[in-house]
Symmetry: C2
Subunit: 526 residues, 2 copies
């Protein structure tokens, strides 16, 4: 089972211990000959079949399986996994018995049937992330999911020790989503050849885009599962421009793009923590046309029965990809001004994630050199606007071990503050920004139920008075503001929440400590 | 001559010593009977005439004078100054002999002629401010004028001691323009009755808008001259909404508005440091219509032969008054985002002054509670965008002596940094923002001749390399960038300019101190 690892001894130094463990912890599997198997809800059920290994099974053999429960039928693609083995992976979303039947252009793989028994999810398994309401997210079991993401584009293409370190860092970090490229990256600070490429090479040493490198994709499987164990969504970047023809993965022919996309969906689509980011900086992928993006989206719509969160991320701030087209679930935006999130929510009626509002770091280029204070401020502004903001870190490093690209360690001051923000916002609940007063266009405020939050940012009011409170929308009964309030002062930089003394009513007025980066929570008292 | 001061003893405590001195230092005057008088270029020449004092001379008597030199003829309004005295004030813009002839509907004032001899301006007199090129300002003698303004709306309506303090503060402050209301102000933190009102009251105690209060307008004259002596432009706000009917100066009938406007132009239009701000927050003057603004502008165009800088200031950020209409010379804007200045320059082809980008202070309301760091940052962003930004201060004070409204003392940390900014920008020369690279949309940069300036703001690059330099536009010969450079590091908060060692050429790369609020100047070396 592990022969692929030992095929090239030199690979060993690249493949971290975590991967070896992960490769052993395979999904719940059933051979087509065995009796009914058991898998938990939103777990990964896998059918293993044996079929042809001649020719190019990746191209020659078609395989899918339809899983049924009552009136529901979900069809998932299968994929070739080498050595004559074929697999179909399925993520059941309902408890109980499911049956399946395979379909193939090859007799040995066609019409195979079986059953599976789906049990309740284990603790920590809340299912895949869905859009909740218009502008937020929740796991499939209803638990709110507030994305607090980071980016480490090429972390899975680094030496094993660095990948291990990345997972350890993530385990202690506040992030519950990571943007990561499937393909390796050829860009400033990361012009190394990876240990494993996504495609095999032909006799002439050229990449054969029709033959996925199984070592690579098994590695990817393992990394996605590692993240799942940490409770982190894997926001997989399927195409990106950081290749510039060096390997040519950014300019494959359309049929190769489509085959790759289907293969990826078949392999990792049954992992509940997968998101599809069709591209990073799609507008910088100069060889691709609008028709290409339409076609990719059609493939995702058709081949992903699990409806993972799907987006296309822009490069230029004014080139946001129109997210209204199916199956796009949300905006994944690059924009330095997180203050625009509230208006994009209104414009597009979908959740907004500003995955790249510039990074904490000290690069020469502006997208990678804002201070921690500035990044944390942009996080607060974006979250107060009812959206979500992503982190990355770009501090120059003697070995170019820069989180944004390679993962490794975090050195900045923002993650601790982002952890604090996450706790505050999760406690508050999904944010609905206030737009009923000119005041909130400058001093963002939000409601959740009947609790209000005001973020002062670079402002330093010395007092809170009724003037602010009276700008809050009326209470739920629509008649009048609550008469009695208590308050919490939130120091977003020093990470403290202080209960202010007393219950206030009438012409409320009390002093505030007139310094930047404060927020205030107003809580009605019954 | 000073009898108006002693008419009401109680006035004395309101009229500061500076005014008494100013009243003595009257403009160069000539009675129509005297021989040719002498006045310096851009000084104020005054004709005094004696005429009717019955009825209401403000309404009944028309008076103007045409001043001629060669083919040039400039006509200025005269005004009634009480006690049967009429005056015509003139600001000659050319050296040599001028003649004049008056015109009036009253025989005693009509057809009076005379001469004046205009000499070279004294040191410090550079004439009125003009638009220079498309987007900047210069005095009439060609000396660059870079407006660095402040706001103290109601400073001339305060007790005498406070007005004195305001002038002392201004003498030591970096500001060369002040926004100030002609009419008193009735608004938060300033709900006091002024000592002198702009109009007389009738027998019933109602304001008689047809009778300007001469005490008030003489006081205004003096204040404008006090500012002139300090080298400060008086940006006179002619109408404002901070009255709300309390006195009714915000809702006078159209003929009263027009008569007031003409009277004001006649009285202070010959002072070279006057600017006309037709309104503060014009859009909040709910009783006025678009036709009113057109009419006021027509009056300024017709009655001000000296073409003082003219603008209309907005309230809501999205209600900027279209400045393309004559005689508007520039945008006077209220907007928290000074990063938009560069685009307004392009859109309107006029200079942009963001007079109100929110104020340093600790008010509860967002327009008055940004930190000094944030205000200084907004100044730098605006100046780097090729525009100008204005200051005010809104720190709560036990006696409500708040600079923004009453003047007095400055308590904030921004003025010293604004003084530093002014020195740096004046040394650099008027800013032309760079727009040839995406980089400058995030990290504003500007050129002046062949010198470049980059402002990093909240960014903290650890290095400058050729990557940045190569984004500068080519040198003036249009062929290639300069090969040799020297650099200055500018710490905008700590107010230092450091010459970085060496002359650099080729693949330039050197370390920067990776902290916020830096700027860098690149200077070509021959």
């Amino acid at each position: 089972m592990l022969e692929f690892i030992f095929r090239r001894a030199s690979l060993l130094r690249w493949l971290p211990a975590v991967l070896l463990a992960a490769a052993c912890a395979s999904p719940s599997a059933a051979s087509a000959k065995a009796g009914p198997a058991t898998v938990e809800r939103w777990g990964t059920f896998e059918i293993e079949l044996t079929g042809p290994k001649d020719g190019n099974p990746f191209v020659d053999v078609s395989l899918d399986a339809t899983f049924s429960q009552g009136d529901r039928n979900l069809t998932v693609l299968g994929f070739y996994d080498g050595g004559g083995k074929y697999r179909v992976r399925f993520m059941p979303d309902a408890i109980g018995t499911w049956t399946y039947r395979t379909r193939s252009n090859h007799k040995s793989l066609d019409g195979r049937t079986g059953k599976l028994s789906v049990t309740a999810p284990s603790p920590g398994n809340h299912g895949p992330v869905r859009v909740a309401g218009k502008h937020h997210f929740a796991y499939d079991d209803g638990k709110a999911y507030l994305p607090v993401g980071t980016t480490a584009y090429a972390w899975i293409h680094q030496p094993a020790a660095l990948q291990d370190q990345t997972l350890k860092t993530l385990a202690a970090a506040p992030f519950n989503k990571i943007r990561m490229c499937v393909f390796p990256k050829w860009y400033e600070y990361n012009r190394d050849e990876p240990a494993i490429y996504p495609f095999e090479r032909d006799a002439a040493g050229q990449f054969d885009f029709s033959r996925p490198n199984l070592n690579f994709f098994r590695h990817l499987d393992g990394r996605v599962r590692d993240l799942m164990k940490l409770g982190i969504e894997a926001d997989l970047i399927i195409f990106h421009p950081y290749d510039e023809g060096h390997w040519g993965f950014d300019r494959m022919p359309p049929d190769a793009d489509d085959r790759y996309l289907r293969y990826l969906i078949a392999r990792v689509g049954a992992y509940r923590n997968v998101w599809w980011s069709l591209a990073n900086e799609y507008d910088l992928l100069k060889k691709k046309t609008p028709a290409d993006w339409d076609r990719y989206l059609d493939i995702v719509a058709k081949q992903d029965p699990f409806r993972h969160p799907t987006s296309i991320h822009n490069g230029e701030p004014d080139r946001i990809y129109d997210p209204r087209r199916a199956p796009i679930t949300h905006l994944s935006v690059q924009h330095p001004n997180t203050g625009l999130i509230a208006s994009w929510r209104t414009q597009f009626d979908k959740p907004v994630v500003d995955d790249e509002c510039e990074y904490e770091g000290n690069f020469e280029v502006p997208w990678g050199n804002i201070s921690a204070e500035e990044l944390v401020h942009r996080f607060w502004v974006g979250f107060m606007g009812g959206g979500y903001v992503g982190h990355a870190e770009t501090y120059a490093h003697p070995k170019d071990e820069i989180w944004w690209s390679r993962g490794g360690a975090l050195h900045g001051q923002s993650p601790a503050r982002i952890a604090f923000l996450r706790r505050v916002i999760e406690e508050h609940g999904p944010i609905e920004p206030l737009t009923n007063s000119w005041m909130w266009t400058r001093m963002p405020a939000a409601r959740h139920g009947e609790t209000f939050l005001v973020y002062y940012g670079p402002r330093q009011p010395m007092r809170l008075t009724w003037m602010t409170l009276s700008q809050f929308p009326l209470s739920k009964d629509g008649n009048k503001p609550h008469p009695r309030w208590r308050f919490q002062l939130i120091d977003t930089w020093n990470m403290t929440v202080t209960d202010l003394p007393g219950v206030h009513e009438g012409k409320i007025s009390f002093d505030l400590p007139a310094k930047p980066y404060l927020a205030l929570r107003a809580i009605p008292v019954r």
